[in-house]
């Protein structure tokens, strides 16, 4: 490794080791959903639709004392090469579960007994790090649905390739690299809500990779915040009519 690291380290797409891929998030992309978001994170293209809180079907899955967050991660057959079966794989099911666990700490589920919040994630195109991109889009979609949140959940992965720690792995780096550490983080509450790793790292590298991912999450948080504040900013022409509307409301 030492020989390699002396040469200048270059990533396959020319990014710096701690540089994120281009990130674009839009809201309101699924008119029928209560909230939705579209994310492009590198070549990942993902749509998230949120429904609820609404009545739980089937009823037996509802809880008398709190709402249930139900996340469904699904890859379209054409999102990867070669085509994959549209039936949910074990991987899809595990990711659905960890997505739910990543988002739930940000919600006030105790406010919605017997109800469900459905988060539907469709991977249109996969390019490494789909679970992180899904978390980013899903938390924006939850906010877009007007569901109160304790914090945003921001997510990205760090990893290792050719002995170098890198941020936000693309598909190639994910497959060829030595390790992949996806992390989701609530930046204001300083809580890690998703943490997985596959690969081989020393405990020191593990910690360093987590720290690197957390820095990435903080940058992504700024983008999420911007997207939402842009959409929900009060247009200037409404400023003057503000008092009047409030009175009418009462």
């Amino acid at each position: 490794m030492s020989k390699k690291s002396k040469k200048k380290f270059k990533r396959i797409d020319g990014r710096a080791a701690d540089e994120l891929r281009p990130l674009k998030i839009e809201t309101g992309v699924v008119p029928n959903a209560a909230g939705s978001a579209y994310i492009e994170m590198g070549r990942n293209k993902i749509i998230v639709g949120v429904y609820g809180p609404r009545e739980m079907h089937p009823k037996r899955l509802s809880m008398p004392n709190k709402g249930v967050l139900r996340a469904r991660y699904h890859m379209s057959p054409f999102s990867v090469d070669p085509r994959r079966s549209p039936a949910p794989s074990r991987r899809d099911q595990e990711i659905s579960m960890v997505l739910g666990y990543a988002l739930e700490p940000a919600l006030f589920l105790e406010r919605y007994p017997r109800s469900v919040i459905d988060v539907y994630v469709e991977i249109i195109q996969a390019d490494g790090g789909t679970r992180c991109a899904s978390v980013n889009a899903a938390s924006v979609a939850l906010a877009d649905a007007g569901i109160p949140l304790k914090d945003m959940v921001s997510s990205c992965a760090a990893g290792k390739i050719d002995g170098h720690l890198i941020l936000d792995l693309g598909d190639y780096e994910d497959k060829k690299g030595e390790a992949d550490v996806p992390v989701a983080y609530m930046p204001n509450l300083d809580q890690i809500t998703l943490l997985q790793m596959d690969g081989i790292l020393t405990p020191e590298e593990t910690e360093e990779a987590i720290l690197m991912a957390l820095e990435g999450c903080k940058k992504i948080y700024q983008v999420q915040k911007e997207v939402l504040s842009k959409k929900y900013a009060r247009p200037p022409e409404l400023e003057s009519t503000e008092e009047k509307t409030e009175e009418e409301g009462e």
Binding site: M63, P64, N65, K66, L69, P82, R90, R91, Q93, E94, S96, M97, V98, G100, Y101, E104, P105, A179, V181, M186, L189, D190, Q191, I192, T193, L194, L195, Q196, M197, D198, G199, I200, L201, T202, P203, T206, E207, I210, L211, L214
Partner: protein, 266 residues
């Protein structure tokens, strides 16, 4: 990680005990139950291990056969891990397709083995694109009392370590046939998962079913014998601070070495 009404009362009790530095069964917070592993005890399976961890009882069976390799890895053998929650193992488990928990268990054990590159998969290929060894590891839960990931992870290593798979010879027209001899699997590493459960602000090792029911979440760290981390898995709808994560990694590092000795029969 249930949030039923009864379990909220139980949670209160568990938390009171944790505050006093003890647990429902009198153990310390980081005290493990006794783990025993009996390996290669089945005749028809190529590898096997029976794990007992407190009242948790798991049988790991390894079957080896010949099948078609995956399209994208034509020269490699195939390793599959599957978990079966038998309905007898817990009063609330029912027959049916694998639950989310069973899928996660199989996936975490599978990823633990795979990411540690435990086997040279190319050495398990037979005829490129046509035939390869297929290894099935089935995790059979017979009695559930918590901490299935650790029990199954150790059991999988024990089963792989003791496995004797049939040798095959390949004829000129690429037909494979058994030679009648068996061979051992060469394990490059012995990754061992250790799970830390979070209840309130407390971190405990080797949670029982009762504790898992009232827990907020858990964090599994898999270590190889060289001190490398090979898999992480955070589970449960709860956040961990970076300090808690570091603490878990430290706890797991020590414990993994002890469990490895049991799994390898040392």
């Amino acid at each position: 990680m249930s949030s039923g009404i009864v379990s909220r009362l139980k949670r209160k009790k568990v938390l009171e005990l944790l505050e006093a530095g003890t647990r429902m069964d009198g153990r310390g917070l980081l005290e493990y139950r006794e783990m025993t592993i009996r390996s290669s005890f089945l005749e028809k399976a190529e590898g096997s291990a029976e794990v007992r961890l407190g009242k948790t009882h798991v049988i790991v069976g390894l079957k080896a056969g010949v099948g078609t390799p995956f399209e994208d890895t034509p020269d490699e053998g195939v390793l599959m891990v599957n978990a079966e929650f038998t309905p007898m193992a817990n009063p609330t488990w029912e027959p049916g397709p694998p639950s989310e928990a069973a899928i996660e268990l199989a996936r975490v054990v599978d990823r633990g083995l795979r990411s540690a590159e435990i086997l040279n998969m190319e050495s398990l290929g037979l005829v490129s694109g046509e035939k390869a060894y297929i290894l099935f590891i089935d995790l059979y839960i017979l009695n559930y009392d918590g901490n299935l990931i650790d029990a199954c992870g150790a059991g999988a290593i024990a089963a792989l370590k003791g496995a004797r798979i049939p040798s095959y010879k390949i004829s000129e027209d690429n037909e494979v046939s058994k030679t009648g001899k068996t061979k051992k699997l060469k394990l490059r590493r012995h990754p061992i998962p250790v799970t830390i459960t979070k209840i309130g602000d407390y971190l405990i090792l080797d949670a029982t079913a009762e504790e898992e029911e009232v827990a907020d979440g858990r964090f599994t760290v898999t270590f190889d014998e060289k001190g490398n981390v090979t898999t992480l898995q955070k589970s449960g709808a709860v956040g961990f601070t970076l300090d808690e994560i570091k603490k878990c990694i430290n706890i797991a590092s020590e414990k993994a070495a002890e469990i490895r000795k049991i799994a390898l029969g040392k």
